[in-house]
Symmetry: C2
Subunit: 95 residues, 2 copies
């Protein structure tokens, strides 16, 4: 599934709720989902961890819908098969 398609599915399923909740409420929910992912990563339940990854990308897509940003376009524009910092593939940045 394309990133854009996933975002459109989220729009169809949730835009009415996302709009009502608004930008700050949706961002706060994304933060909560990232925290839940962090908790799941400490355990050994791979299926639970998988569901938390799904929730994070879902809320990220919802947030992008609220502000009218195309997540796929954003991702491709920044990461064009090379590291955006060193412009090499694989990344050869020196840290």
């Amino acid at each position: 599934m394309h990133i854009h398609e996933f975002q459109e599915m989220m729009r169809y399923l949730y835009i009415h709720r996302d709009s009502d909740r608004g930008l700050k409420g949706t961002y706060d929910w994304l933060v909560e989902e990232v925290e839940e992912l962090g908790e799941a990563l400490k355990g050994e339940d791979n299926e639970a961890t998988q569901r938390e990854f799904a929730d994070v990308i879902a809320w990220l897509a919802s947030l992008a819908n609220i502000v009218g940003i195309d997540l796929e376009k954003a991702a491709i524009e920044k990461y064009r098969n090379v590291c955006p910092k060193c412009e090499k593939a694989p990344c050869q940045c020196e840290f």
Copy 2:
């Protein structure tokens, strides 16, 4: 671009660094990127916000690479064109 393809691009570009950094370091970096997205959302620079969305999905993909989870499979398994809670489309959950 498929979610899976984006994750594979991240693997090609960054798996050597992600593996060295490890799970906790990569998760902490994801959290930082989410915070930077939050800051960008308070401003009016749409291009900067777009770049922060790109970074969050990139670090989420890197984190999924470290733990061997397919982000696209995770997303599709949980969100199958209906809300996973109420099983309706659009979502009709009562909160």
